[in-house]
Amino acid sequence: MAEAVTFGIFAIVALAGAVTMLVAKNPVYSAVGLLSAMFALAVMYILLDAHLVAMVQVIIYAGAVMTLFLFVIMLIGVDNPNAYGPRPVSQSIVTWVVAGVFFAAIVLAGSGAWVTGSAAFGTADLNGTIENVADEMFGTWTIVFLSTVMLLTIAAVGTIALAYFTGADDDEAAA
């Protein structure tokens, strides 16, 4: 019962945070909305016994990533939130209709749900301690863990390719 109540409260917080992030005019409000959604998700993870993931969520996402977001927002400036002008009415109607249909489809699918027999197919031990997570991460998922290295290399190389060799070094400018 306590679990259901906690879930209900934080599910509402997460949804409210996500909606705030989308509709807020001021980017700082959006960032705060995202922050509260992330905190609410961390609580969900604890409810699911995923303690390490919950801590990671708070420390890395709510802590480091959000700080980075806020830095970027401050660098760009929060004074002119309407720099791109209002969106055409027709466009926003279409947006809401499509989003509504999508949401309704997911709710419909979910309510007709037949949910997995996780007793037969889930893992028996769901306690997300550091030890268990490490066993999964460096046992079952080692290759995935290593593949993300490739992803990060791509990101770094891509950044260099787009931003480096400017000015005198830039062949395009010289040409």
Partner: protein
């Protein structure tokens, strides 16, 4: 030590090593001598050799599943699969990468000191593309997809002085991220419905379907639909194609062939692996949806290609139609895999070759490429004109060119399905009829390219192709013609390129 095999991941490792060598040497070495070309070419050649070794291994042992750790596999999910499917994908991607890089070489020369970064992005992107085809795990497919996509977003915006290139990159990035998110959402829902992320193995989706009777598949259907949308976006199937013409037109021409061919090969392979490998028991649910997407793609691609004045947009819409023809093969289930591979193997090279010609005429870093600029190309440079004509005829599906064989195989597969939707036992005959009609209508714009090249003014534009581009165009034209006249060797090979 069966699990400690190196061969199943050797393709990725070879390309990753090649990329790291380029990156590390670029820090200290002279950037004016373009030594990174041979390194990248060698990497792709080695990767192709690895693909061949994998193919031999599969022929001898039948392939198998591979795990990340050495303990009892029952408790672990397999992460890598070696079968005819992944081995053929390895060979094909190595060839497409090699020819694509040849076709992009003018652009690499043009970007000057940023050449090593370009080459590294291409190498890593192809490693990611192969990862999508050689894993039973949906999360690994997603990581491979992201690796390739992020590299291609950057390639689309590589020419910093061009506004069109920047716009293309941003558009591709925003819409592509949405598609990736939808795919990931689908993976999560499928996990919720089946309790598994793996297609094969002890605890797998296939096992789940063979032991459980699915009474109310609500979440499962939603998950499958979202995964299909995510991948249909990547292969530019209608109605998820809107980004393609803008991105192809804005992106530097030299890179477009590589990007579009590479992502199509891998994303179609992923669709085949997930839906035919994993969800084959649900084919009654997804078959009709794929058929409708295929029909829409053929119609939208063909009719919008008719009215284009820019050859890059035209090729983009023709790509939408081709996505429809390939999806037509996939509605047939396992029988459709061979036709899909044949179509992909020939079409991907035609695309690379055609964009190589466009890159010569319009310039490797150009955004727009009006069709009118091709007027008189065949007179000014007969070699290029004839090669381009054979590529275009191949795409059009004229007999004795590879595109024709691909379409025949694909339509035959679709027509042989039993009890498709709507009810009846004539196969997906309506889809085949529609495909034939759009092929005939499509002739109009393909022949328009050829007639423009053989008539019209002597162009003042560049018509003398550089050596790498000539290699690329010749290779792709030879493939188009040879497999159009003698398709049986390739048909024999793709018959064995089946998922486990």
């Amino acid at each position: 030590m069966e699990n400690a095999a190196f061969l199943p991941v050797a393709f990725e490792v070879v390309l990753l090593v090649g990329a790291l060598v380029v990156l590390l040497v670029a820090v200290v070495a002279d950037r004016d001598r373009r030594w990174w070309g041979p390194v990248a070419g060698l990497s792709f050649a080695l990767a192709g050799a690895v693909g061949f070794l994998q193919w031999r291994e599969v022929e001898e042992t039948g392939g198998g599943l591979f795990f990340s750790s050495l303990d009892v596999p029952v408790f672990r999910s397999p992460m890598v699969v070696l079968d005819g499917y992944s081995a053929f994908a390895a060979m094909l991607l190595a060839v497409v990468g090699f020819v694509g890089l040849l076709a992009a070489w003018d652009l690499v020369v043009k970007v000057g000191k940023r050449g090593p970064e370009f080459v590294v992005l291409v190498l890593l992107a192809f490693a990611g593309l192969h990862m999508m085809t050689a894993t039973p795990n949906l999360v690994v497919i997603f990581i491979g997809l992201e690796t390739a996509s992020i590299a291609f977003y950057v390639l689309a915006g590589f020419v910093r002085t061009s506004e069109a290139s920047k716009e293309a990159a941003l558009k591709y990035f925003l819409l592509g991220s949405l598609a990736s998110a939808l795919f990931l959402y689908g993976v999560a829902l499928v996990f919720g419905a089946t309790g598994s992320l793996s297609i094969y193995g002890a605890n797998s989706i296939r096992n789940f379907f063979s032991t459980v009777i699915v009474a109310e598949p609500g979440i499962l259907l939603a998950g499958m639909a979202l995964m299909l949308v995510g991948l249909a976006f990547k292969v530019t199937a209608a109605p998820f194609h809107q980004w393609a013409p803008d991105v192809y037109q804005g992106a530097p021409t030299g890179a477009v062939g590589l990007m579009s061919a590479g992502i199509k090969v891998a994303a179609f392979a992923a669709i085949g692996r997930i839906f035919i490998g994993g969800f084959i028991s649900q084919i009654d649910a997804w078959g009709p949806i794929v058929a409708v997407i295929a029909a829409l793609s053929m119609i939208v691609g063909t009719f919008l290609a008719l009215v284009q004045d820019d050859i890059k947009r035209l090729l983009a819409y023709s790509g939408v139609a081709h996505a429809g023809y390939i999806l037509t093969a996939l509605v047939a289930g396992v029988q459709g895999i061979g036709p899909m591979w044949f179509y992909l193997a020939t079409y991907s090279l035609m695309v690379v070759g055609a964009f190589a010609v466009v890159s010569t005429v319009a310039g490797p870093d150009a955004g727009r490429a009006p069709l009118a600029d091709f007027g008189g190309l065949a007179k000014a440079n007969p070699e290029l004109g004839w090669l381009m004509s054979s590529l275009v005829l191949g795409m059009a599906g004229i007999p004795f060119f590879a595109g024709f064989v691909g379409k025949v195989l694909s339509f035959t597969a679709a027509a042989s399905v039993e009890n498709p939707w709507p009810a009846g036992d004539n196969g997906y005959l309506w889809l085949v009829v529609l495909g034939t009609l759009t092929t005939v209508i499509g002739l109009a714009f393909y022949l328009r390219i050829i007639s423009t090249m053989f008539t019209g003014q002597e162009p003042e534009l560049q018509t003398e192709a550089t050596l790498p581009i000539r290699f690329a165009v010749v290779i792709s034209a030879v493939v188009t013609v040879v497999f159009g006249i003698v398709p049986w060797p390739l048909i024999d090979v793709v018959r064995d390129a089946l998922p486990l």
